[in-house]
């Protein structure tokens, strides 16, 4: 489960995969909205790991 946290590294550091303009979204090339999209995805993955292992810990 913790390995989910590797996904943002793969998704964002493998540059040739997302270095393209097509398809654009709201006038923004793929390069930009793809990276923006990783912000909520990363938060979500981190939340999953948090919920699985740490939720019960003292605040």
């Amino acid at each position: 489960m913790k390995y989910l946290l590797l996904l943002p590294f793969i998704g964002l550091l493998w540059v040739p995969f997302f270095n393209r303009e097509m398809p654009p979204l709201f006038g923004m090339p793929f390069f930009y909205w793809y990276q923006f999209l990783w912000i909520p995805i990363t938060s979500f993955l981190t939340w999953l790991v948090y919920r699985r292992y740490h939720q019960g810990e003292e605040e």
Binding site: K2, L5, L6, P8, F9, L12, L13, W14, V15, P16, N19, R20, E21, F26, G27, M28, P29, F31, Y32, Q35, F36, W38, I39, P40, T42, S43, L45, T46, W47, V49, Y50, H54, E57, E58, E59
Partner: protein, 497 residues
């Protein structure tokens, strides 16, 4: 707005907000004070170690995404296009690292009363040499960072039409005084105002500006034409030669980010490990903001803003598109945005000096209250030093040093982080110290050989790989540490906490 022409409306708004946070800064010493010894260094230097999720979110957000970022990231995008966006992957992948590393580090610090990175290393390895190496790296890396916050302030003060150094000096003296009296509580409280103001400014900018300029499509097309006209070395997407620099800058910066004294201070001030974990989930909200701020660099082309120095892009864009009062609001957001990190940075540096130099070498029997006294004075000295640097040395000097600071601070990653995880516990102080020496030396050497550029071209078997210098030096650092550890066996002592 012409330089030298004072915009009174904008200036009044600016002064109003500046006074507001000054009052808050002085009042902060009473905020959240606990029943414990108010003279203890934990109170001044870590705000009592009991900031919850919200306060930590504002504090770390205000401290990590600095005013200089708001000015420098669009300036970089304006100058080099897509390549300047490496800040976006950098400030995303930093959070899984924070989530995995920082709660462990917090536990160790909390259990043993550590205040600084140097304390952690001393507690773990009982090596004064490694402790000093880590502490000096922290202080040296953070000093130019403080100076750059001043650059951020200077840019907006000039944007308001004020000339001369007196406004900047006055703003900084006020900052120094309330940091002296309230410690970490001052920037924590001011961060609420700062972050809300920055959010408002950026949301207005990213909605209003493209609307005025004909939408994002038009904004990006104007930028494309400008880069094509410049010869096409940069553009709206990366050139193949930029792939590796882009990825390694993002990764190396992410590993360096929370090794700095100011970010680590924010972590140690948290009240629990889960406070940090939750922040690793919520802090990326600021990254959305940062990505939008970066877009301002493209908007400058559509708005036909022409500047001599790229750092003037944001102020020039704001004053050409916003009404005066909102320009004043936006500029005060940036200036206040400089105060928060500058305060935390000087506190972080002061804590390092006090704990890892004063207590270690000058006065080992110093009381916690005595430590707080020393730290408060050092925080003043640090800020005056940064001010003098900016007033009397070329700005380029601070920029170069800040870049080198990134290369240096990431060399402390093995000493701070490896000991937290299974395999990393194998390393002892002599190996880590040798790795640090080699990392610092090689990183500095490469950086100077490359004319203080962050990327070093590596020639391997006929091919050339351009890699972030800090990450390259870190790789060498780790290899050397492994080799030394292999040869020294288990002789080094390790004290587990």
């Amino acid at each position: 707005m012409m330089p030298g022409h004072i915009d009174w409306t904008a200036l009044s708004v600016f002064v109003f907000f500046f006074l507001l946070v000054t009052v808050m800064g002085f009042w902060a010493s009473r905020w959240q004070s606990s029943g414990r010894d108010p003279k203890h260094l934990d109170e001044w230097g870590l705000g009592g170690r009991k900031f919850g999720t919200w306060i930590t979110w504002f504090l770390v957000g205000g401290d990590f995404y600095t005013a200089y970022t708001v000015v420098a990231v669009p300036a970089l995008v304006y100058a080099v296009g897509a390549y300047g966006f490496f800040a976006l992957p950098y400030t995303i992948i930093v959070y899984p690292i924070v989530f995995l590393v920082m709660p462990k580090l917090w536990h160790e610090a909390h259990r043993q009363g550590h205040v600084t990175a140097g304390d952690v290393v001393w507690g773990r390895y009982r090596s004064r040499a490694l402790e000093l190496a880590v502490a000096i790296t922290g202080v040296v890396a953070v000093m130019p960072y403080i100076a750059l916050q001043l650059v951020g302030m200077q840019v907006v003060i000039q944007g308001l039409g004020l000339s001369g150094e007196i406004p900047l000096a006055a703003a900084f003296v006020i900052l120094a005084l309330y940091t002296y009296s309230a410690g970490l509580r001052a920037p924590a409280l001011i961060a609420f105002v700062k972050d809300l103001m920055i959010y408002i400014v950026v949301l207005v900018a990213v909605i209003l500006v493209p609307a005025k300029l004909g939408g994002y499509h038009h904004v990006l097309e104007s930028a494309r034409q400008a880069y094509d006209a410049k010869g096409g070395a940069t553009g709206l997407i990366l050139k193949p030669a930029q792939f590796l620099p882009y990825a390694t800058l993002a990764l190396g910066s992410a590993m360096a980010a929370f090794m700095y004294p100011h970010t680590l201070t924010g972590i140690f001030a948290a009240k629990s490990a889960n406070t940090i974990r939750k922040n690793a989930i919520y802090l990326p909200a600021y990254t959305i903001l940062l990505g939008l701020i970066a877009m301002l660099g493209y908007m400058a082309y559509a708005a036909n803003v022409h500047v001599k120095s790229a750092t003037d892009v944001v102020p020039a864009l704001f004053s050409s598109l916003f009404p005066s009062w909102f320009t004043g609001f936006a500029f005060s957001a940036i200036a206040i945005g400089a105060l928060v990190p500058a305060a935390v940075m000087s506190i972080g540096a002061a804590n390092l000096f006090t704990r890892n130099f004063w207590k270690a070498y000058v006065k080992p029997d110093v009381t916690p209250a005595g430590e707080a006294k020393v730290a408060k004075i050092v925080s003043l000295v640090v800020k005056v030093g940064a001010l003098v640097c900016i007033l009397f040395l070329p700005t380029q000097f601070a920029l170069d040093l800040q870049l080198l600071g990134g290369v240096w601070i990431v060399q402390t990653f093995p000493a701070l982080v490896f000991g937290l995880f299974g395999f990393g516990k194998w390393f002892r102080a002599p190996a880590l110290l040798t790795g640090w020496v080699v990392g610092i030396a090689s990183g500095t050497w490469w950086a100077f050989a490359d004319d203080v550029k962050p990327v070093h071209a590596l020639h391997l078997g006929g091919a050339t790989y351009a890699v972030y210098t800090g990450l390259l030096a870190l790789a060498l650092n780790i290899v050397v540490a492994i080799v030394v550890q292999l040869f020294s066996g288990k002789r080094g002592e390790r004290v587990t906490g």
